[in-house]
Amino acid sequence: MRILWNEMKKILTWKSLLLLLIINCILYFFLIDFYIKHFPNGRPALDSYRIGIEMIDKYGPSMDDEEFKDFLKTYDAQVKEADQYLQSDPQAVEEGIDTYKKFMDYDWNNAPQEVWKIREQIFFEEKVNTFWELQERERLIEFHELKEMEPGGTTPAQKKQYAKLAKEGIFGNYPEIVITNFHDYISNVAVAILFSVVAVMSPMILRDRTRQIVPLQYTARKGRSLLKTKLLAGFLSTLLVVTSLLVIYMGLYSLNNTSMFFDVRINTFIGNESWYNPTFLQYILFTIGGIYLVGIAFGLAAMGFSTIVPNTLTLLGVQIPFVAGFLIFGLNRMITFPMNMWFPKWQMPVFFGLLLLSSLIFVWYVIRREKKMDIML
């Protein structure tokens, strides 16, 4: 236990914590901050978010056909509000757009400037919620009405899944703003955590080798089994780093105030057809689990490379293709859209399996190699 603790102290030095801070500050301001600061990002995103909350309040985590009728009623009431607004505006009446229908049917492409001014006043000067919300409601109504329409070019497996969802009455008719924001946020968080793990774990074993401490370690009672302890210390440190960063990033995410969507199932969000149908909260937990697995796999791989390569430059160089490969092929399939029907169903589990298995095999090889190799330092 003392040895394990000592090895962990060697990894989590104030220097490595400073490095973590720098990496995360940079990546936070370049990649992540936007999705917290600008959520919902303007309008009609804000209206989409508000209507989503209203739908959850009124209909719960899904909306059936009866509830949809109520939704239409709300829409009609809001249209009346818009009519009243327009009728109270002499300019609008003068231009002949005294109802919301006329307002919508107006040929805005050839509209004179005075009429444009009316529109600008409604949307941008007075920011009349009714008009903004009506647009979003119309979009939601449209999606609800087209809910059973299947996109073209689907594979047999996708067709089957669409049929299954339709049979169970699961359709995408809730605003997708929250889950889209989460996709963007979590993928960038995953990148920040991946870089953090690789940066902190990479030098841990190489440092002992370049400082020629290994001969002292391997001739002590503990001997070459110290490598296993170092790997365990690295594994625990990886968990610690990932957990700490996740606590911070999920804490920041909580500022987006999306907890009311937690019970909505992911297939209920528009355009989010998925192979599995967990609730939004379960989905968040799943992606967190995914980040842990990716962090552990890359942490183990970084330690493995650290045992083999001759210097820091090679250590960084050798890991770049793996990290780039993950960002190009793995990130979307494993973290951003792990359950999405855009990707074949087998890809997510296979990618996770391959990533973990290859890193475990690599570490096993490194341990075996170290057991017998000549220490030439």
């Binding site: 401490i213 290994v214 001969p215 391997y218 009672r221 503990k222 017998k372 000549d374 330092l377």
Partner: protein
């Protein structure tokens, strides 16, 4: 007792050591050879850092590699390049190594104080080692090798970086230690071990050349070492004819110490051979190649 049995070490086509057979009991053994002769390879094999390509090393009849932890428990080792963490103090570093050696915290605390006093580092025990001189670092290295009170102490070039005073102190320390344990020191500095080693081991052309007491090894040059005075003008010619061991200028002439196996000339003064004479004689080719 350590027995090295028919040990060879090859790296691909290159043979570092061949047919090495040795026995070590308690006492101090000096492994003496020029740089590159295979001292460190042998030392690393004794420390289980390198495995023999063939043959084996046994401790009390058991293969040291199979003994695993039980062998390392008996071992204290100072490598040629003593590695350390620059930001650690000697006390911190020794605590770290004590954990690896399976020494409890309480025992380690007592032992570390005792050893740091022994190597005269008590007053800097909490100072970061990045500010230490080479000699101070080497003394930390010696202290760590003694942490577990080893039965077998293996030191690879332990006096590198030590000043003459430290070397003398170190020799005293080794003499004390060798009373009740096996100490093997590898060095190319004859004076480090000449006066303290029970036996000297010399390796030449990858094979064992001598394993004997200093006296017995010196006997090999009995009646072959002389000193004489030579004019500067004759010095070049003299160098060509004999193996010169040392040259010293005195009163405008050169006093040379040299080896000659055969009839002596009248003005030559026979002298008692020293270990350094044997070293210079045996490794004369390697020295010339080295130059």
């Amino acid at each position: 007792m350590i027995v090295v049995k028919d040990v060879c070490k090859r790296y691909g086509d290159f043979t570092a050591l061949e047919d090495i057979n040795l026995e070590f009991t308690n006492g101090l053994y000096g492994l003496l050879a020029p740089n590159g002769a295979g001292k460190t390879t042998l030392i690393k094999m004794l420390a289980t850092l390198i495995s023999p390509s063939s043959g084996e090393i046994q401790y009390n009849g058991e293969n040291i590699v199979s003994m695993d932890q039980r062998y390392r428990e008996l071992l204290g080792f100072l490598p040629q390049q003593f590695g350390f963490y620059k930001n650690y103090s000697p006390a911190q570093y020794l605590f770290y190594l004590a954990a690896l050696k399976g020494i409890s915290k309480q025992q380690a605390r007592i032992k570390i104080d005792e050893l740091l006093a022994k190597v005269a580092l008590s007053d800097v025990k909490h100072k970061k080692m990045k500010k230490f001189s080479g000699g101070m670092i080497q003394r930390v290295g010696i202290a760590q090798a003694l942490l577990n009170d080893p039965k077998i102490l293996i030191l690879d070039e332990p006096t590198a970086g030590l000043d003459p005073k430290e070397r003398a102190r170190f020799r005293h320390l080794l003499t004390d230690l060798a009373r009740e344990r096996l100490v093997i020191i590898s060095t190319h500095i004859v004076s480090d071990i000449e006066s303290i080693a029970n036996e000297i081991i010399m390796i030449k052309n990858k094979r064992l050349l001598y394993k004997d007491s200093v006296e017995q090894i010196c006997e090999t040059l009995r009646d072959a070492v002389y000193e004489t005075t030579v004019d500067f003008s004759q010095l070049d010619e003299f160098r060509k004819r004999f193996v010169l061991l040392s040259e010293k200028q005195e009163y405008g002439k050169m006093i040379v110490r040299f080896i000659h196996k055969g009839d002596k000339e009248e003005e030559w003064i026979p002298v008692h051979p020293q270990l350094e004479d044997v070293f210079l004689y045996e490794y004369q080719d390697e020295m010339v190649e080295g130059l």
